[in-house]
């Protein structure tokens, strides 16, 4: 990338400094000159010059030029307010209003509408158009979440470009031609796509409105509250639209280093659960057989005494929605006052502390921006669409705009397969044996800057250390420590990375330092059942629903002497709890989270929590105090300071420094602290890694074919729409998936089942009912089920390797 020169141009008589080649409309802002635009939106890609609103005069060019598509050069002289320019701007506004209904008083966009603003600022203030305007039926659903009013549409193309060039779902089209053009979908099909809510925000008029926000507020009724969405690891920067202490809408808060200004529909419409009447608003304490509401005083006292009684035998499972502060305090209580060692934040055990620290080494970490400029991207057993949706858009952008070569190496077909240079399909949980010697590997070997994105499952599997070693070998071969290259792990929990770094993994303390050996979630379950463990803290975690083998978890929780559960809603695991404390929602929390690329971001409370819900850091410090640990924490910044003091590579980090857009810790001086925990720069396992990887792959040679008794190797995945968020938000409920068994055409034929047919998937005496979906790109011998569904999730089968499939009821 060559450095662009700084140049000087003159806009309306004012000298302006700008980067050569930047667009005039952006450069002019440096001289405090606003040039109006409708179609221009750099997030959508190169300018299209369609709306003609930004016409300006450039000295030496006879015709007026569109400022959105005119790159600036040194010495350029531009006029934006001459009579000629004004005439053209007036004309474009007048043309745009020819068919616009001007129904601003009843339009949701009124008050925050670029068309209103530009018509007032750059229009002539009157129209000479007296003929009938065009009419459409309106407003009609474009999808269950978005309404379209085609009369208001000014045909700026933004939504269509988003659909075609950003999300690449290609569902939105311009239909008909000329003045009869309208935005629609083929055959009027609903526009169902995971990112389609972005078109609401892109629309510069009131043509696309949110079903969830229609007629809920006027711009003068609302306040914007900036925070972070923690519904998935994307951790998109958001603005909560707050009216009367209720979140009514979620908008993107552009941060090119995190989300590029996009949101997925889960993040955009997942706010309704915050105001749900089902939320827990009071602590609950078990008395007799039932949970009764209780005061904080009583609940914390019960919690403290219950945990103290189990001292030395208490475990904690921290869910992915916890902040760094909450996670830090939970593990501090468990490891400190309770003198125990078992803390986990993942459903399946991962690699050892030394390997974990090696994987997290700052020089091997890629940033989200590195994805944009990577020459090649390896997607290792991860489907961003489901696991970190915004990353899906960023990879598409890297391919489309910068020509990155994508290699997909995964067990399950991904949404990005179509844009990949090479796709290599593995048997479930074998993707760690990916080798640079394969056709796919060759694409990466000589590519230059490579970013490797891997799903947590790659290193959280039957042999985590071997998988981590293979990955480190790969990192070395691809020289990922060089600038612009690196690793990104997509965790299963929204704050998976942060929780790991503040000490919520077994045997790994704050700062990824070695800690006393501890049990993984699965081992915790076994130890509870056997009585080796007696107490359990569940922080926003519901293992009965989400972890492998719910039946075993039921008996484990039943066997425990004392269970403390913290959650927003009542859940299956909480049904076994002795004390339940209500948790804040993500729009109510104050604290920090860490993005998968190491960016520490700040959650700010936008609305008050309902009822008597208290901040997590607050009641955790009280609980700690009752257990004898006076933390001295009295505020959220102090909670951060306390955790920072134990995480060397977060050294000195404060809320102020994190600011609105977060800070990647790898880019700070204190990052050296991270290299230290990894021990020697080279990890000991490298030498053996190759052989280990090989043994893994040879060991699975048989995975191609059905297992001897005709079964399938089962893989599982978390569908974007499987889970509590979909169920708790009325707007999203229509997206909730039903259990589906994905099969290759070969296997479907062999098993004699057809697409859509109901089957029973069985293993070890457990059974899940699913409908068959035939996937062309599925590897024969493998079958996939969805995790996280209520009742019939894949976890019912207990992480089974091999399953049998029969027609339903047989």
């Amino acid at each position: 990338m060559s450095e662009k020169q700084e140049i000087t141009l003159v806009v309306d008589g004012v000298e302006v400094q700008a980067t050569e080649g930047s667009m005039l409309v952006d450069a002019a802002k440096g001289g405090d000159v606003e040039i109006p635009v409708f179609c221009y939106e750099p997030k959508l890609g190169p300018p299209v010059g369609a709306c003609r609103m930004c016409l300006v005069e450039v000295e030496g060019i006879p015709k007026l030029q569109t400022a959105c598509s005119t790159p600036v050069r040194d010495g350029m002289v531009v006029y934006t307010r001459t009579d000629r320019v004004k005439e053209a701007q007036n004309a474009v506004v007048e043309f745009l209003l020819v068919n616009h209904p001007l129904d601003c008083p009843v339009c949701d966009k009124g008050g925050e509408c670029p068309l209103q603003d530009i018509a007032m600022g750059w229009g002539a203030g009157r129209s000479r158009f007296t003929d009938p305007k065009r009419h459409f039926q309106k407003p009609v659903p474009l999808s269950p979440l978005v309404r379209i009013d085609r009369e208001r549409c000014i045909l700026c193309y933004r939504c269509v470009r988003f659909s075609q060039e950003v999300a690449e779902d290609e569902q939105l089209q311009l239909l008909e031609r000329g003045a009869n053009t309208f935005v629609g979908t083929f055959d009027d099909h609903p526009y169902i796509a995971p990112f389609h809510g972005n078109v609401i925000e892109l629309c510069p008029v009131g043509a696309l409105t949110s079903e969830a926000y229609r007629f809920r507020a006027r711009p003068w009724d609302i306040e914007d509250a900036g925070s972070i969405c923690t519904l998935c690891p994307s951790q998109c920067n958001v603005k909560h639209t707050v009216r009367d202490d209720v979140v009514e809408r979620v908008l993107a808060r552009d941060n090119p280093d995190v989300d590029d200004g996009w949101l997925c529909d889960k993040g955009r419409f997942g706010f309704q659960m915050l105001a749900s009447s089902d939320r827990l608003t009071m602590p609950q304490v078990r008395s007799g057989g039932a949970l009764d509401e209780a005061s904080w005083e009583e609940a914390l006292e019960r919690a403290a005494s219950g945990l103290a009684a189990a001292k030395g035998k208490v475990a904690a499972i921290v869910g992915g929605g916890a902040t760094n502060e909450e996670g830090y305090l939970v593990q501090r209580i468990v490891r400190g006052s309770l003198n125990s060692a078992d803390v986990d934040s993942r459903p399946v055990a991962g690699p050892s502390q030394a390997l974990r620290a090696e994987l997290g080494r700052p020089d091997r970490a890629a940033s989200m921006a590195d994805v944009d400029h990577a020459q090649a991207i390896l997607l290792l057993d991860c489907d961003p669409l489901h696991e970190m949706p915004i990353l899906d858009l960023r990879i598409r952008k890297a391919i489309r705009r910068n020509g990155a070569k994508l290699v997909v190496a995964s067990a399950r077909p991904t949404a990005l397969d179509g844009g990949a240079e090479e796709v290599e399909r593995f048997a479930p949980s074998e993707a760690a044996s990916f080798s640079l010697e394969s056709d796919a590997g060759r694409v990466l070997r000589d590519a230059g800057r490579v970013v490797v994105i891997f799903g947590e499952r790659v290193v959280c599997d039957s042999n985590p250390d071997a998988a981590a070693s293979s990955l480190l070998t790969l990192a070395k071969e691809l020289t990922l420590e060089e600038d612009g290259s690196g690793l990104i792990e997509v965790p299963s929990g929204a704050n998976g990375r942060g929780l790991a770094e503040v000490g919520c993994l077994p045997g790994i303390g704050p700062g990824l330092a070695a800690a006393a050996a501890g049990r993984s979630a699965e081992e915790i379950q076994e130890a509870l059942e056997s009585g080796e463990l007696e107490g359990l803290i569940l922080w926003e975690a519901d293992p009965v629903r989400d972890f492998p083998d719910p039946k075993a978890w039921h008996s484990a929780l039943g066997a425990a002497n004392f269970v403390l559960s913290i959650s927003m809603f009542g859940n299956a695991s909480g049904g076994h709890a002795d004390v339940v404390l209500p948790a804040q929602g993500y729009a109510e929390k104050e604290g920090t989270v860490t993005h998968p690329d190491g960016r520490v971001q700040r959650l700010r409370p936008g609305v008050p929590a309902p009822g008597e819900v208290q901040p997590g850091w607050q009641f955790l410090t009280e609980l700690a105090a009752r257990l004898g640990d006076e933390t001295g924490i009295d505020s959220a910044p102090e909670a951060l300071a306390a955790l920072v003091s134990e995480v060397p590579f977060y050294g000195g980090l404060t809320h102020e420094e994190i600011g609105a857009h977060g800070v990647r810790w790898q880019g700070r001086d204190s990052a050296d602290g991270a290299a230290a925990v990894g021990g020697p720069g080279e990890h000991g396992g490298t030498a053996g890694a190759g052989t280990q990887a090989q043994s893994r792959s040879t060991g699975t040679a048989s995975a191609d074919a059905p297992t001897p008794n005709g079964g399938l190797r089962l893989g599982t995945y978390r569908d974007l729409w499987a889970g509590e968020v979909t169920e708790r938000n009325p707007a999203l409920r229509f997206l909730a998936p039903t259990q589906t068994l994905e099969l290759s055409p070969d296997d479907a034929e062999r098993l004699g089942v057809e697409g859509g047919e109901a089957v029973d998937v069985r293993s070890n005496g457990f059974s899940v009912r699913a409908n068959v979906a035939i996937r062309e790109r599925m590897r024969p011998g493998a079958g996939f089920l969805i995790e996280g569904l209520d009742g019939d999730g894949a976890n019912v089968l207990g992480g089974a390797g091999e399953v049998s499939v029969t027609k339903a009821g047989e």
């Binding site: 300018p47 299209v48 010059g49 369609a50 709306c51 003609r52 609103m53 016409l55 015709k63 007026l64 569109t66 598509s69 005439e87 053209a88 004309a91 474009v92 007048e94 043309f95 745009l96 020819v98 068919n99 000479r128 158009f129 003929d131 000014i154 045909l155 193309y157 089209q173 311009l174 008909e176 031609r177 000329g178 003045a179 009869n180 053009t181």
Partner: protein
């Protein structure tokens, strides 16, 4: 004065359509010479020296356009624009129908000159018969080794594909043509980048009109000097002019550029029917500003017509005699562009729509004098402000009609229509005047 038949030489011999007939008349000799003996740079130089200007509408020097293509290893393309849709223009249709091999020979030589290995003929969908003929000729040329890999052992190959358009006028705009060819909705692209730098599939692309490319073998055969001996200093060569509307012998005439327009309209095309005079005429398709009887002596050349405030455009003369209602002609013209506007940019989409609505009221006698001012102002607001030239293509002729025939528009407002009732504008024939208008409308119909 008579025609100067270069492209039209022996055009009416049916055998010319076959490769044998074409070769008997010396066809493919230029190709053989170019591929065996001549360097691409020499070819490009000859084209530049000949000052051959594009015959599709813009009149840009073909050699110069070819020289804009970057050198290098990247895939380059040549597109022949055969989407002849400009109302009144039907020259490429006759040329392709009767002499398809001349086009293929021109494409192959031009491709060699600019190092384009893939070529397309984007032919208007309605030209089904012509497309069949061209496809047949392409097959013959492949068989004879004039297309395909390693032509005549030169080491250079050209693949030529005939692609039929789906009927949109806008796809004759070069960048919309590229989008359409790529399988997208035919919408014009923002320029720059120009197709010569970034065109089809992002590669450098030379786009030329059928007639332009057909001149290439002639330049190679006879030399640039010979070619420049025809025409005027700024308009070299000959031009096939499609004459239609109110003339007695409508048709295509190949003339030496610079011939007085009067001779084309009267001597070649027979002028208006007995007893009628020329009232207005489009010199270069319906998107050219209209000229009046006063302009009949303007030489038919790029520079002289520009000097007269119009343009040579696609080289199509449409004549309106004194029985034609100019307001109805304006409405008919505006309706075409309104119907064909792609809708991508605001001034064209809304301006064509608004203009039609106003002109409908004018023709129906329901407009006010203020509407005439608004029509004029709207045309001014379109011209120069659009993404491509389609908007201008309506605004220029309509604007010129209101300006030059304002009194007739005003009479229409007062209900003193000079012509028949409004039906003529819809192509319905009734009275004698109506017939005249409707034949005009037919000539202009897509």
């Amino acid at each position: 004065m008579a025609e100067t038949r270069i492209l039209f030489r022996e055009l009416d011999d049916p055998a010319l359509r076959t490769i044998d007939g074409y070769r008997r008349r010396g066809g493919y000799r230029s190709l053989e010479r170019a591929f065996r003996e001549l360097e691409p740079d020499f070819l490009l130089g000859q084209l530049e020296e000949s000052e051959l200007r594009g015959r599709g509408g813009a009149g840009f020097s073909m050699g110069k356009k070819g020289s804009f293509l970057p050198r290098g290893d990247m895939d380059k393309y040549l597109c022949c624009n055969a989407d002849e849709s400009e109302p009144g223009t039907f020259k490429d249709r006759e040329l392709m129908q009767k002499n398809p091999h001349l086009l293929i020979e021109g494409i192959a030589i031009a491709a060699l000159a600019v190092d384009a290995t893939r070529a397309f003929i984007f032919i208007r969908g309605e030209y089904a018969e012509q497309a069949d003929i061209v496809e047949q000729a392409v097959d013959e040329a492949y068989e004879a080794g004039f297309l395909g890999e390693n032509i005549l052992g030169s080491g250079f190959g050209v693949e030529l594909v005939v692609h039929r358009g789906a009927g949109a006028y806008i796809c004759g705009e070069e960048t919309a043509l590229l989008d359409s060819l790529e399988g997208k909705r035919g919408n014009p692209r923002l320029k720059p980048p120009f197709p010569a730098i970034q065109g089809l599939y992002g590669g450098p692309t030379l786009i030329n009109n059928v007639e332009t490319l057909m001149n290439v073998p002639l330049v190679v055969e006879h030399g640039a000097g010979w070619f420049k001996s025809f025409g005027t200093e700024e308009s070299t060569g000959t031009k096939v002019v499609s004459v239609s509307g109110c003339v007695q012998r409508p048709g295509n005439y190949e003339i030496e550029l610079g011939m007085p327009s009067r001779e084309i309209i009267f001597d070649l095309a027979g002028g208006p029917p007995e007893g009628r005079g020329v009232k207005a005429w489009f010199p270069g398709g319906s998107s050219a500003p209209v000229l009046t009887a006063d302009d009949l002596d303007v030489p038919y050349s790029f520079e002289a017509l520009a000097g007269a405030g119009s343009m040579l455009g696609s080289g199509a003369i449409i004549v309106a005699d004194d029985a034609v209602s100019i307001p109805e002609l304006a409405l008919r013209t505006a309706r075409f562009y309104h119907h064909e506007s792609c809708g991508k940019c605001t001034p064209c989409r809304e301006g064509t729509n608004w203009t039609v609505k106003m002109l409908e009221r004018v023709v129906a006698g329901e407009a006010t004098p203020m509407d005439l001012d608004i029509i004029t102002s709207v045309q001014e607001n379109i011209i120069g402000n659009c993404l491509c030239v389609l908007g201008d293509a309506m605004a220029m002729p309509v604007g010129s009609m209101v300006k030059k025939f304002r009194s007739e528009f005003e009479e229409q407002l007062r209900g003193v229509a000079s012509s028949s009732s409004g039906s003529g504008a819809n192509g319905a024939a009734g009275t004698a005047e109506g017939t005249a208008t409707s034949s005009l409308a037919q000539a202009g119909a897509p």
